[in-house]
């Protein structure tokens, strides 16, 4: 399990449940590496301000994470973490590699509104 303060998703079925039960979901799929930690940190910082969004992480090396790794939106990705934004069960945005808090905020505002 990732050592973050975010809620962890551990299986594909759990991800499907979360995504179907919540309107706006952000999932960061990574490892405890230098490109991933700043994204988890940004999410932890934004969690309080974006009550309309549910924030989760998922371990990249968990075989169940293939549900994210094999998304068509992540097909061209070659940088950790893979971060996926779902609205009403559908992927509306996905990013690869490190993102700043401002970059994450811009996507949240654009896709989910504040």
């Amino acid at each position: 399990m990732l050592k973050t303060n975010l809620k962890h998703i551990q299986s594909a079925s759990e991800l499907n449940k979360v995504v179907s039960e919540n309107e706006n979901v952000m999932v960061c799929c990574g490892r405890m590496g230098p490109m991933c930690i700043p994204v988890y940190d940004a999410m932890e910082n934004l969690e309080e301000k974006y009550e309309n969004v549910k924030f989760f992480d998922m371990e990249f090396d968990n075989p169940e994470a293939s549900v994210i790794r094999s998304l068509p939106e992540c097909r061209n990705f070659s940088g950790l973490p893979f971060t996926v934004y779902y609205k009403n069960g559908k992927v509306v945005k996905a990013t690869s590699s490190i993102q700043t808090k401002d970059e994450v905020k811009a996507i949240l505002n654009d896709k989910f509104g504040k």
Binding site: G33, P34, M35, D41, N45, S78, G79, I98
Partner: protein, 326 residues
């Protein structure tokens, strides 16, 4: 310039930056019963979290940068430091006796002393195509992303120790690694140069710079320019790892604090800057060696100098009050 109207919260010292230098200053000051606020615009730990393994921090045999950062953060909090991360400084007035800082355009803080421990950030090539293809071929971390490039041709841009060491580590995955470096010699340690130069999978192109990264959805090739004759050459590559050094994060302090030609903060040996009550520590200052140990050392000195500064400020106030009474 401070614009927001929220009530000002007062601390003895505000520390800008929560890398090893800032956290160490925080630990020393808070332990001396000073009120301390540490503000970081990014992630607590600074460049330490960029480091998979730190093997040269005395007393700790082998630790991940993330763990060392978390330990320092816990220690600073335990002594009473207030730490705010992921927050931008949007206004600043640190020239006078009372320093004031505005955060995220809404919160105001003041203090008697400030320590600038803003460290450095990776230098980027500044190309639009570099930004566009980040995570789609362009990477800044070999350990994180190396395994996406199994049996592929990749390039490493840079010629210091990081570039050389990471190029060698990437040969575990890649079919070929081409190092592109702007000078006619490397700036790394002799053993790192030797290991890269003698590696059968590594090719070296000197005196050349990247002009463009090509690719729509993914990186396909890199255009490089020969600095001697200006000729352009296309190299097929699906990955490009960029390690071209670090620049001090002194942008917000330009015109306020004295900087040297490399934009590093000039301090004396007690970490004092040219402004009374403003100190600096760590990678952000003008110095030769940049390590966690040197940042920790600077942070310690800055904190002890702040204590000295605050004590003499307090004594002056007490003395002038006493003279007014008598």
């Amino acid at each position: 310039m401070i614009n927001s109207v929220n009530k000002m919260k007062k601390y003895d010292t505000i520390i800008i930056g929560a890398g090893p230098a800032g956290l160490t200053s925080g630990i020393y000051l808070a332990r001396a019963k000073q009120s301390v606020l540490i503000i970081d615009q990014g992630t607590v730990g600074g460049q330490m979290i960029m480091t998979h393994k730190i093997a040269n921090y005395p007393g700790v045999i082998d630790i991940s940068g993330y763990e060392l950062a978390n330990n320092m953060k816990a220690q600073a909090k335990e002594f009473g430091c207030k730490i705010i991360s992921g927050s931008k400084i949007t206004g600043m007035d640190i020239s006078g006796g009372i320093k004031s800082i505005e955060v995220d355009g809404e919160d105001n803080y003041s203090s008697d002393a400030v320590i600038i421990a803003a460290g450095g950030e990776p230098r980027s090539l500044g190309l639009e195509s570099e930004k566009r293809l980040k995570g789609k071929g362009i990477s800044y971390c070999a350990t994180c992303d190396g395994d996406f490039f199994q049996d592929q041709d990749i390039v490493v841009v840079g010629g210091g120790n990081s570039a050389l060491e990471e190029a060698v580590s990437l040969t575990k995955y890649a079919r070929s690694v081409t190092i592109i470096h702007q000078f006619d010699h490397f700036q790394g340690f002799p053993h790192a140069i030797k290991e890269a130069a003698e590696h059968p999978k590594i090719k070296i192109i000197l005196e050349s710079v990247v002009e463009e990264f090509n690719g729509d959805e993914n990186l396909n090739s890199v255009i490089i320019k020969n600095l001697k004759d200006g000729s352009l050459k296309e190299i097929n590559a699906s990955g490009a790892f960029i390690f071209i050094g670090y620049v001090p994060r002194t942008g917000p302090f330009k015109g306020i604090i004295a900087l040297n030609q490399k934009d590093e903060i000039i301090t004396d040996i007690e970490m004092r800057t040219n402004i009374s009550g403003v100190f600096a520590a760590g990678d952000v200052i003008s110095k030769r060696y940049r390590q966690v140990t040197t940042a920790v050392s600077d942070g310690t000195i800055a904190a002890l100098s702040v204590l000295d500064f605050l004590n003499s400020k307090k004594q002056k106030i007490e003395y002038s009050l006493a003279s007014e009474v008598s």
